[in-house]
Each structure stands twice: as structure tokens, then as C-alpha cells.
């Protein structure tokens, strides 16, 4: 786990239908359960029509802006290689780009629709959020029918990052 900092900025992005909003939702609830002030912002007006999707999550002690400024993101979770060039402007110098791990995470996930949970599971290893907060967030975000499968994907991907 990284050294605690004041604010954590995570940019998510990809195209409509990849579960990006759900992934950022999972992180948002986990940060909330861990006692942080957390904000999230995205534009989803046209996302269902295959447009670009972008979601920003920020958590820490005090958060003002719901958006991450250019070159301010600590982490970039890009779900589609085509979207990477436009999203990388958010990543700060020395920030962690998960793009090289996307293929590995995709391989580890049986159900392609759970790649989003896999990405967050992988990320979770690098964030100061306790496992029980992640568990509560999983329970909040997923319906009972799909909770167990997402829990499994999350744990597997988290193990990948070790």
C-alpha cells in the first residue's frame, strides 16, 4: 500500500457499455465506507450510444472539485486502447497507468462483463482502503444474483497486482 496522501485522484475511461460508471461507483462507495470525503463526476448523456465515457473519482480529507484537472490523476484506468490517447492527459507525472495490465486482467476474468470489477480489484491493492470497506462497497453496488461472481473477480484481480 502506498504512502497516505491528502487526495487521491482516479480517472476511469473507455466507451459506452464497458461498465465504467459501475467501476467508479464501486470505488466511490468503498472510499465512503472507509471514512473519506469522496466525489465523482462523469458525463453519461450519450454513453449508451457508444460515445466516449469518462469518470473521475477523488477522495481524501477535503475535496472541492468533482473533476480531476489535467495532469492531476494518480491512477488511470482505461478500458479501451482507442481511448487511451485522450485520457492520458489526466495522468500526473509519475502517476500509475493501468493500461499495460488491461490484457492481463481481461484474461483472468471469465465473464467479459466483469472486467470493470477486475480493474478496480487490481487498483484496490494500491489504495489506502480497508478490505472490509471494499466488501461493503461490493455488497452495495451489486445485486445479490451477481455479488458472488464479482467478489471472486475482484479478489482474483487484486491478487494479480501482488
Amino acid at each position: 500500500m502506498k504512502r497516505k496522501q491528502d487526495v487521491y485522484n482516479i480517472t476511469f475511461g473507455g466507451v459506452g457499455g464497458q461498465g465504467i460508471i459501475k467501476a467508479s461507483e464501486l470505488l466511490g462507495w468503498a472510499a465512503l465506507y472507509d471514512g473519506y470525503h469522496v466525489k465523482k463526476s462523469e458525463v453519461h448523456g450519450m454513453s449508451q450510444r457508444g460515445g466516449s465515457v469518462e469518470s473521475h473519482v477523488r477522495f481524501g480529507s477535503v475535496i472541492y472539485s468533482p473533476m480531476i484537472g489535467l495532469a492531476q490523476a494518480d491512477f488511470l484506468l482505461c478500458f479501451h486502447p482507442d481511448e487511451h490517447p485522450r485520457l492520458k492527459v489526466f495522468l500526473k507525472k509519475g502517476g500509475f497507468d493501468l493500461m499495460p495490465y488491461l490484457a492481463k486482467i481481461q484474461e483472468s476474468v471469465e465473464n467479459t462483463r466483469a472486467v470493470n470489477t477486475g480493474m478496480v480489484g487490481f487498483l484496490s491493492k494500491y489504495l489506502p482502503i480497508r478490505p472490509d470497506s471494499w466488501e461493503r462497497a461490493l455488497q452495495t453496488v451489486f445485486k445479490p444474483a451477481v455479488l458472488e461472481s464479482n467478489r471472486k473477480v475482484f479478489a482474483q484481480a487484486r491478487a494479480l497486482s501482488e
Binding site: K39, G51, S65, L70, V89
Partner: protein, 527 residues
């Protein structure tokens, strides 16, 4: 998504938090027509069984039903997007004269940057025009708190109250603290003609009351804690509102602030006091120079506004830096994926036919507006809700021999296309109107409407028969056709009706692909 906890904390969007706050304030009735970015307000309220909620046919109907309930004596909310308020302006302007019986709040969600809108009009001007108070939250927490305050103000001052949000405030999420619901008694009906019957003699008296009321509200704005001075370094002070405040705090944490939450009427004395206390004074706001022009009108000469280039689009913390530096707006384009009609969308068929027939197509507001984009590029106008029926009539009056048709969605036709069809029949107009009936209000996420036979809570209700309706409006021919695997028949029908000297409606009927996917997923239990 529903507020997950009854008490404690929850991670809510501005719209969800506002709905929660209204529920806590004892809300009894809520009405709206869907419209991004306002839609989730009613969707969230529909989860609370104590609230009587409805998707109304359009914003005017929503406003009037809601207002009727407020006159009836319960706390009520109407929600719409900025352009939706235009549709409700008629009742809004006179309801300002009458006032309320129990609390009445109108939530209007503006869309700076036009993420999903046809213009970026600035609703703050409505405060001046209608002489109504406007509260402006910056965040979900404030939305939850401000709506409760709005109900108090509405009842104390006998006035409708506007809450103005923007896409960023409506759609961004944060952790919010939840509270309990207030129980409010239903007030008695008042048979008070001088207050509620706006004939000229009564309205003249009410107008005077309205002018006095806005003065009283000005005094409230002066003392309201929603207008907050934060004195830090005195070298730089900002007067700001909405989400701009949050961007500024991020970039200039040491500056001084006058943060306007009770936006209108303005707190002039507070503004003057703040102006005196800082060396450099700047107004930072999205869209029009609404606050800036008022501050200048107070004779505060040193105030700086933004370069006019920032009147277009939304701000962010990167733009705020160049704005404060006095530079014109420069945005590096970040090319994204353009939206298009979904794979399997029933609209593909009709647009391929319209393109092949090389028609001039007057469009409307909905998913099918995407028919203007490649690869179909077969839609040539988009103005407002309903104009897909009325504009082609006008276009034909300019070009009687032109190959001109109109397209409009099912929900949009019910919203404001019906009157246009009656107008065309009455005024002997000819031509073809296509109703693209995908059995939902698709663009805003799939809400039911009268022709689906479902309510906001998915209960079955009377189903509007579009075919019988169009016949009753006076169309000579009304055909219903499923375009799925039926392209040739669709084209032949279109050609036949185009060649007829008649007013024709062709209802192109096939459910939205997203609706089908959702239903299949529900059956398979994967969501």
C-alpha cells in the same frame, strides 16, 4: 440508483441528494417530464412510497399539476431541464403572482457545455424575469440542504422557489449525510378568489404584492447563510456560484470568497461589503455574466469579469486559471468517440430509407436526432420538442413541391407533436410525418410515457392509442409498420404516401434495442 441507507451516509448524485432532501422536507407530490440532466430527480423520488410521483406528458402539464397540488396544500416539486422550463413558462409567470398554499419548488437543471441539449440558456435570468427567488447549490450535500430551505422560504414568503442546478452539480456524486422525514399536515383548500383567480382586477393587486415580496426576499438574501463570506488573503477575492466555487477553491485555496447560494434576489450590501474588503475583485461564473453585470450595476468599478469567450461552455479548474489570468478561452480538442445510433436500433431502417429517397427531413429531439450524423446523414433540422411536426408544415409552405417530411419520436409526439398535427390538418397541409415509435423515451434512459401504457413506477395504466389519436387529429392516412426485416415494404409505403396528395402519418414501430437488452438481462438475472 436508490439511496441505499435510510439514515447515516450515502454516496449520492446531486439529483439523488436533492430528491432525498425534498423527501425529508415532507414532499407529497412530484411531477416532471424526463430531460437530461434532470431525469434522476423523479426516478429517485419514485423509490419513496410516501411521494405521489408522475411522468407528466410535458413540462407545462408537470408544472400545472404540481402547482395545483401546492395550491391544494401539500409540499410539491416540479423538475425539468433548462429548455423544459421554456415549455412551462406560461404557468410559471402567473404562479409568481398568485403564490402558494404549501411549499412549491421548481428544480431546473441547466446544461453548460450542452452535453445533451440543443442550447445552453442560463436559467438564472428567470429570477429577474419572473421575480422569483433562486437558490443555487454547488454540490450534492448542498442540494440536499438547499431544497429543504427552499420549502421553508416558499411557505414563509408565499412564493414558488427555483433551484438552479447544472449538469456537474446534478450528476456529480459525493458522500452526504441523510436525515429523517418531516411530517407535514395537509392544509385546507382556500376559496380565495382575489388570490387565486388572475383576472386583471385581482392580478393588478397581486403584482403589487409580488413587487413587495421580492423586496422582502432581498432582505432575506442579505442575512442568509447561503450567501457566505470566507475572508482569507485580501489580495484576491472571488464572487462566485454553483460549481465554479469548487473549481476556484481547488486552484485558489488562499483567496477570499463571497459564495452565492441564495443567488436571487442579490445580497447587495454583502456584495458591497465584500468588495471593500479585498484588493482585486473578480466574478467567476459559468455561461452569461449574470452576477458580473449586477455587481457592475452597483457601481463597484474595480470588479473584473471574464473574457466573453467563457460565456460558451462549462468551466473546469484548468480553464479557471486562464480565466483569472484574463486570457481568452483556449481549449485543446480531445477528440472523443462520436455517439451514434446503437447497434440494433430500429431507427437505422427508417434513416436508410429517408437517405435513399433523398428527402428533406425535419427532425426533433431524441435519439433519432443522431440520424443527422454519418453514416446516415439524413436529418436536416432540429429545433425543439414538437418541431418535427410543425416545421415540415412551414417548410412545405415555402416549397409546396418540395420533398419534405418530418420525423418525431413517440414520447416527443405525445409531449408536443399532437397540436402540430392538428394544426397541419386544420390548415390543409399535406405530406408525411413519421412517428418513430420505439416504445420508450429512449434518449433520457428509457422512461415510460402515455403510449407505453406504463407509469413511472411501471404500473399498468390506460394506454394511449397513437393510431387512433392521429386519425382523430385529422390525418388522411395512418399506417403502422414494423421496419425490422421489412425495409422494402417500408420504402414502398413511404413512396406511396409521399406521392399522395394527403396528410399522412406513418408510425414506424419497433422497441428500442436498449429496452430489449434490459428486459433480456432482467430475465437472465444478470443486472
Amino acid at each position: 440508483m436508490a439511496p441505499k441507507a435510510s439514515m447515516g451516509k450515502a454516496f449520492l448524485s446531486g439529483n439523488e441528494a436533492l430528491a432525498r432532501g425534498a423527501w425529508q422536507a415532507g414532499l407529497k407530490v412530484a411531477c416532471a417530464y424526463p430531460g437530461t440532466p434532470s431525469t434522476e430527480i423523479l426516478e429517485t423520488l419514485a423509490l419513496f412510497p410516501e411521494v405521489d410521483v408522475q411522468w407528466s406528458v410535458n413540462e407545462k402539464a408537470a408544472y400545472e399539476v404540481a402547482y395545483g397540488a401546492a395550491v391544494g396544500g401539500v409540499r410539491v416539486l416540479a423538475a425539468c431541464k433548462h429548455v423544459g422550463l421554456n415549455v412551462a413558462m406560461d404557468p410559471l409567470m402567473t404562479s409568481a403572482y398568485i403564490g402558494v398554499n404549501a411549499g412549491f419548488v421548481i428544480v431546473v437543471c441547466d446544461d453548460p457545455q450542452m452535453h445533451s441539449s440543443q442550447n445552453e440558456q442560463d436559467t438564472r435570468w428567470v429570477g429577474i424575469y419572473a421575480k422569483l427567488p433562486i437558490l443555487e447549490p454547488s454540490s450534492p450535500s448542498e442540494a440536499l440542504a438547499f431544497v429543504q430551505e427552499a420549502f421553508e422560504i416558499s411557505e414563509r414568503f408565499d412564493t414558488p422557489v427555483i433551484i438552479r442546478m447544472t449538469t456537474r452539480v446534478s450528476h456529480s456524486k459525493e458522500d452526504v449525510v441523510l436525515g429523517k422525514r418531516l411530517q407535514r399536515p395537509v392544509k385546507a383548500l382556500q376559496k380565495d378568489m382575489r388570490k387565486y383567480v388572475m383576472v386583471p382586477g385581482n392580478a393588478r393587486v397581486r403584482h403589487e404584492i409580488l413587487e413587495k415580496r421580492i423586496e422582502k426576499l432581498k432582505a432575506l438574501s442579505e442575512r442568509s447563510r447561503l450567501n457566505r463570506i470566507e475572508l482569507n488573503k485580501k489580495s484576491l477575492g472571488f464572487i462566485t456560484d454553483s460549481v465554479s466555487y469548487l473549481y476556484l477553491k481547488e486552484v485558489y485555496p488562499d483567496a477570499s470568497y463571497l459564495k452565492l447560494g441564495f443567488l436571487y434576489p442579490f445580497c447587495d450590501e454583502k456584495i458591497k461589503r465584500f468588495a471593500k474588503s479585498v484588493k482585486r475583485l473578480m466574478v467567476v461564473e459559468e455561461l452569461d455574466p449574470f452576477i458580473e453585470e449586477h455587481v457592475k450595476s452597483l457601481g463597484i468599478r474595480k470588479v473584473e469579469g471574464k473574457h466573453p469567450s467563457y460565456r460558451v461552455g462549462e468551466l473546469d479548474q484548468d480553464l479557471i486559471r486562464s480565466l483569472v489570468a484574463g486570457k481568452p478561452k483556449k481549449v485543446k480538442p480531445r477528440p472523443g468517440r462520436a455517439p451514434r445510433l446503437c447497434a440494433g436500433c430500429p431507427h437505422w431502417a427508417i434513416f436508410s430509407v429517408l437517405k435513399k429517397l433523398d428527402l428533406f427531413v425535419a427532425g426533433d429531439i431524441g435519439c433519432y436526432t443522431l440520424g443527422a450524423l454519418p453514416p446516415t446523414s439524413a436529418l436536416h433540422t432540429c429545433l425543439c420538442m414538437g418541431a418535427g411536426v410543425t416545421m415540415p408544415e412551414g417548410l412545405r409552405r415555402a416549397h409546396p413541391e418540395g420533398r419534405i417530411v418530418g420525423v418525431i419520436g413517440d414520447s416527443t409526439f405525445v409531449h408536443s407533436g399532437i397540436t402540430g398535427l392538428i394544426n397541419a390538418a386544420y390548415n390543409k397541409s399535406k405530406g408525411v410525418i413519421f412517428i418513430l415509435d420505439n416504445a420508450t423515451t429512449a434518449m433520457t434512459g428509457g422512461q415510460p410515457h402515455p403510449a407505453t401504457g406504463q407509469t413511472i413506477r411501471n404500473e399498468s395504466t390506460k394506454r394511449l392509442d397513437l393510431k387512433a389519436l392521429c386519425q382523430a387529429c385529422g390525418a388522411d392516412f395512418v399506417d403502422v409498420i414494423d421496419p425490422h426485416g421489412n425495409l422494402k415494404a417500408l420504402e414502398e409505403l413511404a413512396v406511396q404516401r409521399l406521392n399522395a396528395d394527403a396528410l399522412s402519418v406513418i408510425i414506424v414501430q419497433h422497441p428500442c434495442a436498449l429496452l430489449k437488452r434490459e428486459n433480456n438481462e432482467k430475465k437472465a438475472g444478470c443486472v
